[in-house]
Assembly symmetry: C2
Homo-oligomer: 189 residues x 2
Amino acid sequence: MTHPLIKHICRYVTVPDKDIAAILSFFDTVNVAKKQNLLEEGQYSKTTYFVISGCLRLFFINEKGGEQTTQFALEDWWMSDFLAFGSHKPAVFYIQAVEKTQALALSFEAHEALLEQFPYLEKYFRLMYQKGYGASQQRIKYLYGMSREELYHMFATLYPAFVQRIPQYLLASFLGFTPEYLSEIRRKK
Amino acid sequence: MTHPLIKHICRYVTVPDKDIAAILSFFDTVNVAKKQNLLEEGQYSKTTYFVISGCLRLFFINEKGGEQTTQFALEDWWMSDFLAFGSHKPAVFYIQAVEKTQALALSFEAHEALLEQFPYLEKYFRLMYQKGYGASQQRIKYLYGMSREELYHMFATLYPAFVQRIPQYLLASFLGFTPEYLSEIRRKK
């Protein structure tokens, strides 16, 4: 069976069989329990994660001391605090497992070395960041322009499996309202 | 004098002199007057812009019929509706010149052909999108977590030249408040 990461890369670029083992050797497998942190605000740990199974979330602690989730990553998604990853700045986000998760960790140094050795992977990562950037632009649009209820309906339509899988209190936080208000919207529907 | 785009690329990757003319041949120079649109919502025109001089903004029309600016691009910045650029979806944003602007236009097809011919440029674009993505993640954090007044002070501290240059009504729209409220904040300071 092809490794999930290699399968994902092959959607965008051709990977010769002879390179597979060498590519995978740049990654560390990490297994985290539900609610375990992979990254904490203020850390200089520069790592990006590819989810094999489970789910990660990106969040920060807001002024009221609450956890505000801004992003989720399911299977085949990459997650990092990308500004901290690409700079010498400390992280401004936490990364935490929403459920028991297996992920591949790629450090900044390993990322650079991987691309040095296999330059054809630049295209894969270019496309990942291009998509991530484009999705963020739209996300910003929705944050400015939509009511929270519309945001919920959009997510429920675009990502039905996602909305079923994420715990309700996290989905509510992500959408910017209380769990009670989320139940109310769901009942209305 | 080195071309501004080549100068910018050379901050990240080495460009042999012999390639410069061929690289630039993939781009079209566009000159736009103040308030002229380069992209309109619903268009399938897939182009990314590199600003040579002037300033562009990304905005959408909100439900009240107002223009909500979500991003600016000054000299040496790239701008596009990146989800539309990388897919077959219509644009959900407008791109407009804030002042008289000269930019280089790179169509999706030219982008692909450029990278096919000069694969070492993949790294440059990968880094551009990685930075853009990282900045968007932080932007989303600020939209969730900061008051509008804090947002203003953060922008004024990080980008003083930018805050001076952008017309006040656009800066107010970008920050999500009225021009009157912006004047009030500035007076307080």
